[in-house]
Each structure stands twice: as C-alpha cells, then as structure tokens.
C-alpha cells in the first residue's frame, strides 16, 4: 500500500511536549487497571472475546500498518489455529498452553506457505491472492474430517493451565487471556519499534530502493507475514478455549474482512488503534445480535463511512486532531 498508508505514528519521534510521554503512560496505566478489574465490572466472556479480537486485529495491523501488506486472508490463521488448538486439546488431550502453542505453530506454517505464494506479487494483487488462498483453506476446512464440517469442533475442554490452574473457572481463564494478550502486545510493540521494523517500513515506502541497498525484501516481508500469522493464530487458539468451540465462521472471508474493519476503524498503523477498533466492532455486534437489525448493514455502513471520512481511524484521527497534537502525539500521514 505504498505511500498513502499512514506512517508509523507512535514510534521513533521524540514528542514535542515533555508531558506527552507522561500522559501516555498515565493512559496506559488506566487502561491496564480497567483490564485488571474488568471481570468484576462487565461480563467476563465479553471482555475475553474483545481481547481475542483485539489481539487478532493487532496481529493483522502488524502486517498492514507497518509493512503495508493488506492481507484479506487472515481468517485462515485465526480460524485455522482455533481448529488446531481445539483438536489438540479435545482429541489428543494436551494441556491448554501446549494446545495454544500448537495452534500458533500451525498458523505460522500456514502463514509461511501462503506467504511464499502470495508475496510473489505486490499491492492489490497480493491482497487478492491471500483472499483466494484463504478461501481455499476454507473449503479445506469444510471438507476435512477433523474439523467436523458445519458442526465445528464443539465442547472443547479448557483444561488446567500448567496442570494446576483450572481454566473452567471464568476468572482464571480471564487472567490467563489477559496475560497472553499483554505479552503478545509487548512483543508486537517491540517488533515494530525495532531495527527490523524500520526496514519493514522502508520496504513499504520504496521496495526497489530497499533491494538496491541490499535488503532481501522477500525475506523481510515473509518474516513479518509469518509473525503476523502466528500472532493471529495465538488469538484464534485462545478464542477456541474461551468459547470451547472452533467453527467455520472463523475461517470465512467475512472474518478476514472484519479484522480489516477493526483495524481501519481504530487506526491503521497505530498500536492501540486496533484494540479500540476491535472493541467497538465486538460491542456493536454484541449489541445488534439480539436486535432486529441486520448486523451486516451496520458493519457495511461503518466501513464506508470510515473509508470516506475517518481514514486514520478513531485513534489516528485523535492523534492528528488539534488536541491530540497539543498533547504531543504525532501522526504523520
């Protein structure tokens, strides 16, 4: 997505205002406190779902926002990992942490295969290929026996974490999910604010130049793609345990579209944008699930409005706004 993608915003620029970083840490602290207290304030399953999707969107954003690759096939990693984890936990009886690792590893392998094919093309072509490959994976899941087709893998046991923490207790499950989420976010943050992240950014800006400087561009992109796939897999694996389910929904192309929406809505290329985006979409769906109105219409309209008017997303628009800039956030678009 070459030069119109918003550039990395919260990275590497020294803020003009000294209180900016203070403010940012303050906000982070509040957010963290809220997350810690969340299961006592809101329906914990809902918060867990939100965290899963926030992680999924952040993983996706790692690719889109920081490498400029728009994948329309990320559902394959998310849903694929959910299947792998669910199958491992239910059929092989492995403990949950191993199950999730298996899911992540499976997603990473899928990511590697898909990346090897799709990364041969660029831009919109890349997008189409990921979409088609993910669709192929969808049909595979529809036919393969271990996924149980339309029924999905049901009643997946949550098991005992490290052999002694009973995850069927909702609070235990919640803090496990939260811990995984925080660790993953830290990994993502480090990843984009690293020398490697810098190279990814320059590849996005001018691929030929990066090659001529001696960077083997395909390997860097593949690295980011696999990383993103594995993290999406982490989100999918966790989701399978939270809901005790792995189904086709998570591998459909609509799911791939949904994660794009979350990221776009929150703010492409911002760290916390996808989290907000995911929160909003999940809340909206939750709200509409029991109303008469079709969810897709709302989702669709939100999508269009976002693309037309708030391309930088909630967080991005905030950073770019007068207040945001006063507070020392920098959003270079």
């Amino acid at each position: 997505m070459s030069h119109h993608a918003p550039a990395v915003s919260d990275a590497n620029t020294v803020s003009a205002h000294p209180q900016a970083s203070l403010l940012r840490y303050g906000l982070l602290a509040i957010l963290l406190a809220l997350l810690l207290a969340a299961p006592f304030l809101v329906y914990p399953i809902f918060v867990m779902k939100l965290l899963c999707f926030a992680l999924f969107a952040s993983a996706f954003n790692l690719l889109l926002g920081y490498t400029g690759l728009l994948s329309f096939g990320h559902a394959a990693f998310f849903g694929g990992a959910a299947y792998f984890t669910a199958h491992a936990v239910k059929e092989w009886g492995v403990p949950p942490e191993i199950g999730i690792l298996i899911g992540m590893a499976g997603a990473a392998v899928l990511g590697l295969l898909m990346g090897l094919i799709a990364l041969r093309r660029q831009g919109i072509y890349f997008t189409m290929i990921t979409l088609a490959l993910a669709q192929m994976f969808y049909f595979f899941c529809l036919q393969a026996s271990f996924t149980h087709g339309e029924d999905g893998i049901q009643s997946v046991p949550r098991g005992h974490l490290f052999g002694f923490i009973d995850l069927s207790v909702t609070t235990n499950m919640y803090y496990f999910v939260l811990a995984a989420f925080l660790i993953a976010m830290a990994v993502i943050w480090r990843f984009i604010n690293s020398p490697f992240g810098m190279i990814l950014k320059s590849i996005r800006e001018n691929e030929n130049r990066a090659i001529s400087l001696g960077y083997s561009v395909v390997h860097y992109k593949l690295g980011a793609f696999v990383m993103s796939a594995a993290l999406a897999g982490l989100a999918g694996g966790i989701k399978a345990l939270v809901f005790q389910f792995a189904t086709l929904t998570d591998v459909t192309w609509q799911m791939s579209g949904e994660v794009v929406l979350m990221t776009l809505l929150g703010g492409i290329g911002t760290i916390i944008g996808p989290i907000f985006g995911a929160g909003l979409v999940v809340a909206l769906q939750n709200f509409l699930a029991t109303s008469d109105f079709p969810v897709t219409v709302i989702t669709g309209v939100v999508f269009m409005v976002c693309v037309l008017l708030f391309r930088r997303g909630l967080v991005g628009e905030f950073y770019g706004s007068r207040i945001g800039r006063k507070l020392g956030f920098d959003h270079r678009v």
Binding site: I117, Y125, M128, L133, F139, L261, G300
Partner: protein, 295 residues
C-alpha cells in the same frame, strides 16, 4: 456405451456443456471486474451485490411493474449502472487518489450494506423468476436435455464479452481509460474529462454485473445471497486470468467453468476447491496470471 476416462461419454459431454454455462457467468462477472480493476484499479467487492441487484431489479420490474424479461434485460443493467454511477460520483471517486486498497475496502462495505439491506427486506430465500416464454422448454441433444434458456445464456454472454472487449481494446476510449488509471491529473491536464470517464467505466462494469444478474435470475432464482456465493470464485478467476486483463478474464472464465464442471464428474468433493487449486498452481508457475503482465 462409449466411455471416456471411465465415465459414459454422454455424461462427460453433458458436464462439459454445463461447465460452459457456468463459465458464461464467470466470464461475464470477471469481465466486469476486470474492466473496473483494469481501469480504475479498484477491486470491486460490490460486484456480487451488483449482480444480485441486477436480478432483483428484474424481479421487481416483473412483480411491481409487469415488465417482461426482455425489458429487464435492457432496463436492469441501465438502472444498476445509474445507481452505481451515482455511488461512484459521490463516494468512490474520492478514493482514487489514495491507495488502491481503500477502493476495495469501500466496496466491501458497500457490498455488506446492499446485501444486508436486501436480506432484511426480502429474506434470504430465493424467489423464482420465470424464463421468458420464448425461451422455455428444452432441446434433446442426444447426450443431454438442454434447457433452451441455458443455451441462450451461453450465446448472449459470449456476445457481451466480445462487445466489451472491442470497446475497451479497440477504441481510443480504452487508452484514455488506461492512462487515467495511472495518472488522472495529467490526463485531465490534456483536456480530457477524467472524472466523467471513470464514472462511465464504473457504471459499465456494474451494468455488466447486472446483466449477468438478469441472465442468472431464471436459472438460480433471485436471492440476496446469490452474489456472495459467486463473487469469491470470480475473484479467483480474475487472479488466474491476470488481473486487469480483459481477454484473460473472459477466456479464464469459460475455462475454469469447464474445469469445475469436469471436476464434478471425476471428483465431486473437490469441485469447490478446484478453481482455487488451479489458482495456486498458476500463481506458482506464473505469478502474473495466465494473461497478466508483470507489474
């Protein structure tokens, strides 16, 4: 009975013909997508919705206005084309100067909205649309009974493909459009009204989809989901053909329709997946697609 690859010849021929019929829809739809993509660089995710709209407009013309199939065949593409032109004018056109992915995202949202709305008002189930009386009945070809209407679809789709191809590749219009894709501002500075040109192109692509929709209505019924079901396959067709290649879209459409038809005979379980498998193989061997230029 003569056998071919272990199945009766007549069944084989029948499936070949069926494949060609399905291929007609793939070809028409991927052609419209290729026109839009090739010239606007927008992946028109709403193409399936426009196809569905085409069918629905025909249905509504019939039920509300009593207009015949023949009227619908002309009117529906025009109506859908106009609506799409309005959407392009007011919304989509603001996105051209941005990265191409925004066009894709916008049309994705548009597709969700249109389909969701129709689903809300018309439910998900299909509504019958009768084939025109002139085209009812079937002919016995010996190896199969061919409904006349399906034969008509094949012929008409081929004509439409040919006409579009001529329009784009053999007239100056085509070169304006291709140039405008690359650098609209410059082309405009040459004195060409680019925004109008782009609007017309989008309308043409959408009208082609609607045309396919009207053709499809008597065969598949009219349902809000009909576009969703076919669009991803058509995307794969476009990728295999080489994105943006008009010829590629047409030829690949027919080819993959036939390939899919034959898979249903030899290994039905794979019939869903075969187009994607072909796509993966083609991409490994020729990343630009069968007819695509390396970009």
């Amino acid at each position: 009975m003569m056998m071919i690859f272990g199945i009766p010849l007549q069944a084989f021929l029948g499936q070949l013909l069926i494949g060609l019929i399905n291929g007609s829809f793939y070809a028409l739809l991927s052609l419209g997508l290729a026109v839009i993509f090739g010239l606007l660089r927008v992946i028109n995710f709403a193409h399936g919705a426009q196809y569905m709209l085409g069918a629905f407009v025909a249905l509504l013309l019939l039920t509300k206005g009593g207009a015949s199939y023949w009227v619908a065949l002309v009117a529906s593409p025009i109506i859908v084309g106009l609506v799409s032109a309005a959407i392009e004018r007011t919304m989509l056109s603001r996105l051209y100067k941005l990265d191409h992915l925004y066009g894709l995202l916008f049309t994705f949202g548009l597709a969700l909205t249109i389909e969701g709305t129709f689903r809300y008002f018309f439910g998900a189930s299909g509504q019958p649309y009768p084939a025109p009386s002139q085209l009812q009945g079937a002919v016995n070809l010996g190896f199969m009974v061919l409904p006349i209407y399906r034969g008509w679809v094949v012929v008409l789709s081929m004509l439409a493909c040919l006409a579009t191809w001529l329009l784009i590749e053999k007239t100056k219009l085509g070169s304006y459009l291709r140039a405008a894709t690359e650098n609209p501002v410059l082309v405009q500075s040459f004195g060409i009204n680019v925004p109008l040109l782009l609007t017309l192109t989008y309308a043409l692509g959408a009208a082609l989809a609607a045309f396919a929709g009207v053709l499809a209505a008597p065969i598949y019924q009219v349902s809000p989901l009909m576009g969703t079901n076919i669009i991803i396959v058509v995307f794969a067709v476009v990728v295999v053909g080489g994105m943006g290649s008009i010829m590629g879209a047409i030829v690949t459409g027919y080819m993959l329709g036939i390939a899919e038809g034959l898979t249903k005979v030899f290994y039905p379980e794979a019939s869903n997946i075969v187009i994607f498998v072909i796509m993966a193989i083609v991409l490994i061997l020729r990343p630009a697609g069968l007819f695509g230029k390396d970009v």
